[in-house]
């Protein structure tokens, strides 16, 4: 185990350029209109992704994180619908685009690496053919040889041999298929890469390999990455900032160091406490209760039935946002109160 290899934070802070937002989500609302009622999968979600940054979006089941990935790519299907809000990449508002322009924007501006790569590749087409297809559908008038070379370079950047171009998906292992999906994602050098639980079906060693690959290609094409998942450990090892979701709402956005050393929102705190570590063998910590159904959310703060520090106001009023000078965001009545009084939390 590697214990002392942390990046020197000071140098990072001094040398870091002014963060420039490359993706902005403003007040995003997505609901599913089912036979049993309306499920609010995303409720007034807002956050920013800066250039070259790695943002992790963490949530358990029912938190809405998968819906968020699909909403950003505008791939929500009936009975789901984007009810309001914007998703802006650079200056383009993706939610306002017509279908054809949005189709072009996918892969060129914003790419998606899905969960379960095994199911995303066409089993009867060669890898190379699928990659070429992806390029041709976005870029006209590029000579075939240039397209093939582009694909080969992409394969090389994910550490796959050039011979993979002519292979069929079933000839590759799970980790290799996932790396093919990464290669397809970076073909057109998008500004934003959304990786939706890209390693959930992979074993630990392959997972590390895939995440290291994503990091490398990100640096190479200077893209920003959103990693969506439920594994806090993965977030700790990979991302710069973490956003925590609960029942379709954002509860906290902090840097990874802040989140793992001093989380503020009671849910984030409880989540960090659940994580197993080598210090206290045999001590099990969970969060009592169950996540609410999106069809019947509790009034006020969605987390209040399970919160160890619940107050009266939490039951009736939606919590407001507190934004600290460095950009850290917490959405909680307790934190708001502490901020107003001027107390450290």
């Amino acid at each position: 185990m590697n214990t002392a290899d942390t990046k020197p934070d000071l140098a990072q802070v001094i040398d870091a350029p002014e963060p420039t937002p490359v993706l902005q989500v403003n007040n995003l609302d997505v609901s599913y209109y089912t036979d049993s009622g309306r499920a609010k999968a995303l409720d007034d979600l807002s956050f920013t992704l800066n250039a070259g940054e790695k943002l992790g979006i963490v949530g358990e089941s029912g938190s809405g994180k998968s819906t968020l990935a699909l909403a950003m790519m505008r791939m929500i299907k009936a009975p789901g619908r984007i009810d309001g809000g914007q998703v802006r990449v650079d200056d383009t508002n993706l939610t306002a685009l017509d279908d054809e322009t949005m189709r072009k924007a996918r892969l060129m501006k914003i790419a998606y690496i899905p969960q379960g790569a095994m199911n995303s590749l066409n089993p009867v087409m060669r890898i190379g053919a699928q990659m070429v297809d992806a390029v041709i559908s976005h870029v006209e008038k590029e000579p075939k040889s240039a397209i093939v070379e582009r694909c080969m370079l992409a394969l090389e950047s994910v550490d796959l041999p050039r011979s993979a171009f002519r292979m069929f998906p079933h000839e590759l292992s799970g980790g290799m298929k996932q790396r093919v999906c990464i290669a397809i994602g970076i073909l057109l050098q998008p500004q934003v890469i959304i990786a939706d639980e890209p390693t959930s079906a992979l074993d630990v060693v392959t997972q590390r390999q895939v995440m290291e690959t994503i990091d490398r290609v990100r640096e190479k094409i200077n893209a920003a990455v959103i990693l969506i998942g439920h594994d806090m450990g993965l977030m700790a090892q990979f991302v710069d900032r973490v956003a925590v979701m609960y029942a379709g709402r954002l509860v906290e956005v902090s840097t990874v160091r802040e989140m793992f050393t001093a989380p503020k929102h009671p849910y984030s705190k409880a989540l960090i406490n659940c994580l197993p570590n080598l210090e206290n063998k045999g001590v099990f910590q969970g969060i009592p209760g169950l996540a609410p159904s999106l069809l019947r959310l509790p009034g006020g703060c969605a987390f209040h039935p399970r919160c160890a520090q619940v107050m009266d106001i939490c039951r009736s009023r939606r919590p407001e946002t507190t934004v600290e000078p460095n950009g850290r965001t917490v959405i909680c009545h307790l934190i708001k109160q502490e901020a107003e009084i001027g107390q450290p939390s």
Partner: protein, 334 residues
């Protein structure tokens, strides 16, 4: 006291093809002894393809070994019939990974509990059965009113997995095979399920074989560990020793790749390599990915005992006491 279950030099090979026989070794020469009087929690750790699922299937009697025998209370399990087979089933149970797949979609979730009560005659009347079900459900943190009479798709994944564990509580087997019981469950829920399993062992004397690829949970719940890779035992022993001080190159790579939720414990010190030549059949299963591979490794290494409760199957430790595969259980603490 009797041995509850023994695996004696069990191997499982899958072969297919009529003309050109293509065979895969799923498990190679595994021996294990589980005693009735010493209930403990053993972790079988490995990635997909390691043979851990095959091991579970063999222990449960769902598949038969290619060589070797599985003995239950002195009798070969493939020869059990009638009442003896029912007794075997009663004493060896499982909790599976997928909370949804274990439920028959045609029936309500009660079916999972009522069927074994009936078959194993655990209750004398419907009322007593209902009482036992309520007790088991409450013990795992569920409210019976919310659960009884519902269909599987009406409940959440966490609730379903808890019902699975409640079934194990209800049956109180002698041996429980838990195959990735929490990998499809949210982090906040894992604790309560793992705690229930641990209590089963501590308070009710149930031996548990906890199969997983997640070493962090294994560390918390188990006492002993076997690390499998492509059908072979790479390292075995006391769980704290093996995880904090791994010796086999594979175990080291595994531990190094664990994403600890701790910024001070970074992964990735070891590089991941793949040898172009690929696996060498008949040799050490880890040969093609091992940074320390030597020519010797083209024949599999025997188990070397590095400490009373730690063994590694690797030629790097050639000087140590050599152990026979059949002695594996001696190196596992209870």
């Amino acid at each position: 006291m009797a041995n509850l279950l023994e695996l004696n030099n069990v191997s499982k090979t899958y072969s297919h093809g009529i003309i050109k026989k293509d065979s895969t070794v799923a498990l190679r020469d595994i021996s294990l002894t589980l005693r009735e009087d010493e209930p403990s929690i053993l972790t079988v750790a490995g990635e997909s393809g390691s043979g851990k699922t095959t091991l579970a299937m063999l222990l449960l009697g769902f598949i038969t070994p290619t060589t070797g025998q599985i003995i239950y209370r002195g009798k070969d399990i493939s020869k059990l019939r009638g009442q003896e087979k029912l007794a075997f089933r009663r004493e060896v149970q499982a909790v599976f990974q997928d909370p949804f797949a274990v439920f028959n979609p045609f029936y309500t979730v009660d079916h999972l509990l009522t069927v074994p009560i009936k078959k194993f005659k655990l209750a004398k009347s419907k009322a007593e059965a209902r009482d036992k079900m309520d007790e088991a459900l409450t013990a795992v943190g569920l409210r019976p009113e919310d659960i009884i009479g519902r269909f599987p798709h009406q409940l959440s994944g966490g609730q379903r997995q808890r019902i699975n564990v409640a079934r194990a509580l209800l049956l109180k087997p002698r041996l429980l095979i838990a195959d990735e019981p929490v990998s499809m469950v949210d982090a906040s829920l894992r604790a309560s399920i793992l705690e229930t399993l641990r209590n089963l062992q501590r308070d009710h004397g149930v031996s548990i074989i906890y199969i997983t690829h997640d070493l962090t949970t294994a560390y918390h719940i188990a006492k002993s560990i076997i690390v499998l890779y492509r059908g072979g035992v790479m390292e075995a022993g006391d769980v704290e020793t093996v995880i904090k001080n791994p010796q086999h190159p594979y175990t080291r790579l595994l531990i190094d790749s664990i994403p600890w939720p701790n910024l001070e414990q970074r992964w990735g010190a070891q590089k991941i390599i793949t040898r172009e030549a690929g696996a060498v059949s008949g040799g050490c299963p880890f040969y093609s990915r091992c940074a320390k591979a030597m020519d010797r490794c083209k024949t599999p290494a025997p188990m070397y005992r590095l400490a009373p409760f730690q063994t590694a199957s690797c030629y790097l430790y050639e000087g140590h006491e050599q152990m026979d595969a059949a002695q594996l259980s001696e190196t596992l603490p209870v």
